[in-house]
Structure formats: structure tokens, C-alpha cells
């Protein structure tokens, strides 16, 4: 793709600008590193879920299970392996990224194996099955983690000081993970694989009848989605200095789903814009109305969904802009 073509499409441009803005905010210290890590985590989980929910149309309601699994795998690797722990503060955070890849891989494997039976279910049944997976994994963690080590009281793993990373290193690892996820979203959306996934979300039987290997595609997208979600769980766990059962909390999935829906399902720009709007709303409301921030947030979300079922980006799809259909530009 030549450079002209690149800039004709606003999605890659938007991705590039977002990545540059975060970098500038970091370098000029416009926001705290913690804030930047958190916003990347929020946008990242929406974009990670987008691969299965936005593209293939499968609402994985228990998706936080992958934050949990990989968060725990990462924490255990660093807790028990002195070599890994030592790497936390070397090579400006690149090793953290690689260990997160490993932890994400475990989630991908779980998603793949669980996906074989569970992706045969449709709609609400699939959603409920994934909630079941989340609960099952949580119970296993709660039962076995404390047995592993008496220090893991209440299934909480607090990383020892020597295994903690400088914030800047966590930032770098999160930044690479984040960039990887949104670029992957963009590449998938434009690929034949992405078209196949969208066809599945429109009508799975018709897609299969036209030659789309639906079973394989669903499995790959579920595993990829779990992989990226897992990586975020790993880095975020490190940023929090450890992990606890809260990583499995379904409230995170609700955040992810809401971000995708208010932005616009089936697109890359949608969840990207949706998660930014959501995070900013969430953050400002939390500060200004700490008592009923969730009530207000819920109300705003309900209004958006009511008047724009296909999200903010969805409303723009049908509109014209400088003689071109916005749909062509946005996607």
C-alpha cells in the first residue's frame, strides 16, 4: 500500500495519531503514566473483544476470564522465576512484553480448546457458556492458588518488590501491546479473514454455504481475541503490583461490551472512538460525581444505544461527506 492510499483512509491515520498522542502525552508528562496505562488498557480490552464480538458477532460475556488466566500466569511466572523477575527492569520493558505474549498464549490455548464445543452455541447460549467458563476458572484459581503458597492468601498474589517493574517499563510493554492490538484489528478488518468473520456475524449459514470455513474462523478469532485480552491482563496485573480475583469480575466485560456498542459494532473506528468516549466519561464522572457516576454513565449509555443502535460510528455510516459515503471512509 503506498503512502497516498494510506492517508486516504482515516482509520489508519486515526490509529497513528492516537499512538503519537499517547507517546507525546507520555514524553511531555501531560498525563500521569498510570493514567495512560489505564486508558490503553481500557481501549485495548474493547479492541481485543472486538475481534470476536464486533467482527464474528459472538458476544463473549465471560471474556474477563482471559484477563484473569493470563494475569495469574504472568504473576506466577514472575513470582517463581528469578530470571523473569530480573528481566522486569531490563531492556526498557521489552522482556515484559514477551512474557506477556507467553501469558496471552495460555489464554489463546484455553479459548481454542473451550471454543471447540462452545462456539457451536449461538447468541445467548454462547454468552452464558462463556460466563460459565469465567466462573469455573475463578473457582479453580480460588481453590488452588492458596494451596500453592500460604502467602497467596485469598488467591491474591502480591508481587515482591524485586519483581516489580519501573512504571516506564510497564508503559513501554503496554504501549507495544496496545499498538499490536489496534493494528491487528485494522489488518483483520481489511483482510479476507475479516470479511469472512463479518459474513459470519451477518448470517453464519449463508457464509458457510458460500465457502467460508466458519468453524475454523470462529475458533481463530476467539483465540486471537483471548490472546490479546490475556496480554492486557498480564501487563495490567504487573502495573497493579499483583493480581487478585477481581480480574475475573464480569463488570470488566460489561465495560468492554458497552464500549463496542456505543462506538459501533462491526468496525475498527467504532470501538476505538467508543472506548475513548466511555473512558473519558467514566473518568470525569468518577471524579465529579463519585456517588452516582455509574447511574449517570448508565443513563448516557442507554440513550446512545436507544438512538443509535449501531453506535456513534453507526449513525455516520449512512451519511454523505464531500460526495463520498461515510461508510466507505470510516471502514
Amino acid at each position: 500500500m503506498d503512502i497516498d492510499e494510506f492517508f486516504k483512509r482515516p482509520t489508519p491515520l486515526f490509529i497513528l495519531i492516537l499512538l503519537i498522542v499517547i507517546l507525546i502525552a507520555k514524553l511531555l508528562r501531560l498525563e500521569t503514566t498510570d493514567y495512560l496505562i489505564t486508558i490503553m488498557f481500557f481501549i485495548g480490552i474493547a479492541m481485543a473483544l472486538n475481534i470476536i464480538m464486533g467482527f464474528a458477532g459472538y458476544v463473549s460475556f465471560g471474556h474477563t476470564v482471559f484477563l484473569g488466566i493470563s494475569g495469574y500466569v504472568f504473576a506466577l511466572l514472575v513470582y517463581y522465576n528469578r530470571d523473569f523477575a530480573n528481566l522486569m527492569n531490563m531492556y526498557s520493558g521489552i522482556p515484559i512484553f514477551f512474557i506477556a505474549l507467553l501469558a496471552g498464549g495460555v489464554s489463546a490455548l484455553v479459548a481454542f480448546l473451550v471454543g471447540i464445543p462452545v462456539l457451536k452455541l449461538k447468541g445467548a447460549f454462547f454468552a452464558i457458556a462463556t460466563i460459565g467458563l469465567d466462573f469455573a476458572a475463578l473457582y479453580i484459581i480460588k481453590a488452588f492458588i492458596p494451596i500453592l503458597n500460604p502467602e497467596f492468601f485469598g488467591a491474591q498474589i502480591i508481587l515482591p518488590a524485586y519483581a516489580l517493574a519501573y512504571k516506564d517499563n510497564v508503559f513501554v510493554a503496554m504501549y507495544i501491546t496496545f499498538a499490536l492490538i489496534i493494528i491487528a484489528n485494522y489488518l483483520i478488518r481489511r483482510s479476507r479473514f475479516g470479511m469472512g468473520l463479518l459474513a459470519i456475524s451477518e448470517d453464519e449459514d449463508a457464509a458457510e454455504a458460500l465457502g467460508v470455513p466458519t468453524t475454523k474462523y470462529k475458533l481463530i478469532s476467539f483465540a486471537l481475541s483471548a490472546f490479546f485480552t490475556g496480554m492486557l491482563g498480564a501487563v495490567f496485573g504487573l502495573n497493579s503490583g499483583g493480581v487478585d480475583e477481581n480480574l475475573f469480575n464480569l463488570a470488566h466485560t460489561i465495560d468492554m461490551i458497552v464500549m463496542i456498542v456505543i462506538g459501533g459494532i462491526g468496525t475498527v473506528m467504532g470501538p476505538l472512538v467508543g472506548s475513548i468516549i466511555y473512558f473519558i466519561l467514566y473518568d470525569t464522572l468518577l471524579v465529579t460525581y463519585p456517588e452516582f457516576n455509574l447511574v449517570i454513565l448508565g443513563f448516557i449509555v442507554a440513550v446512545i444505544v436507544l438512538f443509535a443502535p449501531r453506535g456513534v460510528v453507526g449513525i455516520l455510516r449512512g451519511k454523505q461527506f464531500m460526495g463520498k459515503k461515510l461508510r466507505d471512509i470510516i471502514e
Binding site: L198, E202, A209, L210, G211
Partner: protein, 254 residues
């Protein structure tokens, strides 16, 4: 039309619980022909298509395509081998444009993985032109009329570049003028593109006119097989389905 069989259906049985939807059905589909499949509601016509395209696995019997046993293969494999079906109840990808709908056929059809997006677009455009939907290529499929959605099904199927196209009641719900248009397209696809066509149809005069051969299904059994004229004169077909001999022959003559 040469006498070489392209699909062999051998002793195929399909049950749904106690109901025998297909009962030891055996017949051949020949390369280059237009075969009509007729029979009353519930005779098993759609079920037969679903067995050929892999949506259902027959409980018994085998199906061969170009000599290859395709029984029980998943639908997408059968599509990629070269058999595509249009749906009795249309299934457009509503949020896709008309062009994108047809492109899916090209990208995942017989040349799946060996075709660029640009080539797929060319193929899709060609087939949209052929069915007369080219002007609507950039519209969302959800906005099409039923008649147009049926043509979109056809364009999508053609874009998969199949050898055999199975049309499940492609004419149902169309007005007489649209039926004639569709028949012209069917003949064209058969003659000029050399595709073998199997059509399930209730619009009797249409199928009797366009088909080279007819197969009659009745309660899951193969009741008769022959040229439209032969079939229209068979007493068992008349009692089971056509109702009246004179009427039946009128269908053929029209």
C-alpha cells in the same frame, strides 16, 4: 448436454426423528443439464439439497461429485469443490453492500485463497451485471426488494464459480415478468457459462419449460424421472402432484 454424470445420488436416506424426509433416493445429475425437481410441500426437496451441500449428513447412502465421495463433508468444502446452492428463504448479508455480498462468494468459492481482492471484485461485478444488479452495487443488501435479493443470491452463488448450481425455489414469489427474466438468466447461465443447474420449483410451467429433465419426489421417495413431457403424462405423477392430465400437458406446451 453430454451423458456424463456430475453428481450421483445413491440410496440416500435422511430421517428427522421418526419422519423419513428422504427414503433411499437414487438418481444422477448429468453434466450440462437443467434438471427440475418437483414434488408437493414436504416432499424432501430442500432436504435433498441440504444433503448434497453438506448441511445435513445423510443417515444412509452416498453422494458423489465428479467421482469423489462428498457425503458428510462440511458445506464450505463442497462449495469450494464446485456445488453452490441458493436459499429458498433468502439470506443476504444485510449490512454488506450488494458488491460485498457477491465478493464473499468469489473470495471463498472455488478459487478460495488463490484470488486477490481485486480479482474477486471483478468476478462479483461481472455476475452482478449478469443478474441486472450492477446499478445497486453500492447499496446495502438490506434495502433490496425480495426479487432483487433472489437475484443477489444467484449472483453470490455464481461468484463462487461453481460447476453445479442448486436453485431452491428461486422463482417463488416473483411476478410473471420477473419469472420470465429469471428463466432467461437461468438458460443463459446454463448455455453460455456451461453450468449444470438443478432447480427445485413449484412454478410448474416455468420448470417444465426450462428443464431438460424432471425428477419427482413424493413423501421422500423418488416417484418418477424423465423428460418434462414424459413426466407430465405419468399417471402416478398426475395423481400425486399435478392433479389433471390436460393441465399438466399445458404446462409443458406453453
Amino acid at each position: 448436454m453430454d451423458e456424463k454424470e456430475i453428481i450421483k445420488i445413491h440410496n440416500v436416506t435422511k430421517r428427522f426423528g421418526g419422519l423419513v424426509a428422504l427414503d433411499k433416493v437414487t438418481f444422477n445429475i448429468y453434466k450440462g443439464e437443467i434438471l427440475g425437481i418437483i414434488g408437493p410441500n414436504g416432499a424432501g426437496k430442500t432436504t435433498l439439497f441440504n444433503c448434497i451441500t453438506g448441511v445435513y449428513r445423510p443417515d444412509d447412502g452416498k453422494i458423489f461429485f465428479n467421482g469423489l465421495d462428498i457425503t458428510g463433508k462440511p458445506p464450505h468444502r463442497i462449495t469450494q469443490l464446485g456445488i453452490v446452492k441458493t436459499h429458498q428463504i433468502v439470506k443476504p448479508f444485510n449490512e454488506f453492500t450488494v458488491l460485498e455480498n457477491a465478493m464473499i462468494g468469489a473470495l471463498f468459492g472455488r478459487r478460495a485463497g488463490k484470488i486477490s481482492k481485486d480479482e474477486a471484485r471483478e468476478i462479483a461485478l461481472k455476475n452482478l451485471e449478469l443478474v441486472g444488479l450492477i446499478e445497486k452495487k453500492d447499496e446495502l443488501a438490506s434495502g433490496l426488494t425480495l426479487h432483487e435479493k433472489k437475484f443477489l443470491e444467484l449472483a453470490r452463488a455464481l461468484s463462487a464459480e461453481p460447476e453445479v448450481i442448486l436453485l431452491d425455489e428461486a422463482l417463488a414469489g416473483l411476478n410473471p415478468k420477473e419469472v420470465e427474466e429469471s428463466l432467461d438468466i437461468v438458460r443463459m447461465i446454463n448455455k453460455e457459462l456451461g453450468k449444470t443447474i438443478v432447480m427445485v420449483e413449484h412454478v410448474m410451467h416455468a420448470v417444465m419449460n426450462v428443464a431438460n429433465r424432471i425428477v419427482v419426489l413424493h413423501f421422500g421417495k423418488l416417484l418418477a424421472e424423465g423428460s418434462p413431457k414424459e413426466v407430465a403424462e405419468m399417471p402416478e405423477v398426475i395423481t400425486a402432484y399435478l392433479g389433471d392430465k390436460d393441465l399438466a400437458l399445458k404446462f409443458v406446451k406453453r
